[in-house]
Symmetry: C2
Amino acid sequence: MSQMQNVERQLREMILGLEIGPGERLTERWIESRFGASRTPVRAALLRLETEGLIGRDGRGWTVAPINLAELGQIAVYREAVEVAAVRLTAALEDRGGVEVIAAMLDSCDADTPREEWHRVGMDFHIELARLSGNEFLLRAVRDAMTRLSRARWLEVRDEAALGRAWAEHHAILAAVRKADADEAARLLSAHIAGSRDRLVTSLHDDRRGLRARGFAVVAA
Amino acid sequence: MSQMQNVERQLREMILGLEIGPGERLTERWIESRFGASRTPVRAALLRLETEGLIGRDGRGWTVAPINLAELGQIAVYREAVEVAAVRLTAALEDRGGVEVIAAMLDSCDADTPREEWHRVGMDFHIELARLSGNEFLLRAVRDAMTRLSRARWLEVRDEAALGRAWAEHHAILAAVRKADADEAARLLSAHIAGSRDRLVTSLHDDRRGLRARGFAVVAA
DNA sequence: GATACCATTTTGGGATACCAAATCGGTATC
DNA sequence: GATACCGATTTGGTATCCCAAAATGGTATC
């Protein structure tokens, strides 16, 4: 694996894992020494992460993207457009067997499953569902959106009930796809995304002082 | 302006303007000497153009993205999802004054307008319409899609009638937005995108031998 | 104590040097 | 004539060096 990919992957994990806080400044020299790579691959990795929206420029320098509540709302609208389009395509497929793989993925989570795993499966549900559509652009759009949502979802204060509800909604969407009911799948998915957004924004808005106390930059809606 | 932006902009223009043909190999050294920049900004520019889909990797090297007929179909689906979402948002706005700016842009084209201008206005119509929605992600998605379509649209053999029909369809969409009729705007936009795709794919498919004769790589649908 | 100023350090942008791997040419072999 | 082989060249990946601009920190001034 090239140094660039190494740096990109590790840096992305540190950002998504909040080891580097939202709003934090990054210097190429720090990354260089941190990962033992020279500035050339570091700069390449930064350029790629910039297009992912995980980092941005602050004048001349680099900054980890802040948690942006307004952006979360816009992403929800974007997600709804592309995910609904994808699920409609999938529901219209002859072979919808891929649905069972996703269902099995959901079922691999139970009460003993660690929170990281719930988090990952919650995002992969949407990504894999989009993949079934067979449309590369819809898939990429969903993957990008989920990446940008990842940190916010991780910071969200979720109770057990909310996790269970999301799990049930996911299964309901799959059931609609399974019986080729595109309209119901679309309706359920829209509602799921809207509810997810509401809980997310409310939670982070209520918790914004706590987040800022942890040194995280939070941009208001 | 930085060297990186210079190289990126000029290289993008050369690719979109077909001065460098689809499928052509690119070497960092050639770009370096062509634009008088060193490899550092050249590499940065290549990384950015890669995320735009204008170039790709061919093993270790760089290649200008070929004309991909299957991709054009997928982009149409993607476009429809995001553009319809955007136009629905716009139709629901209180202040839809931005529509008149776009209408004026359309009207700036007449029989004497050069083909380049028609081409640019045809893409800007969709981009500016998406911008009115106020959603950054929908805007970016439309901009990316139009960039990827740009070369294919330029290669399309379009008669006067087709240009006029597109112009009329654009105006009809604006009229629906103007009177806040989201459903009609969505319906007209969907039909416009589907028709545009059909003409595009048909034209390029029929012309693929001619395109290959010009040295352009064309991937079949 | 606040502020304006200047020397120092740090930073990102760019240029260049080096390397291993891939590619290319030419030649020998069959 | 086709093909296998081998050395020269080219290429992308990386490290390092230089530079101008910006940030920093200390100091003098009011």
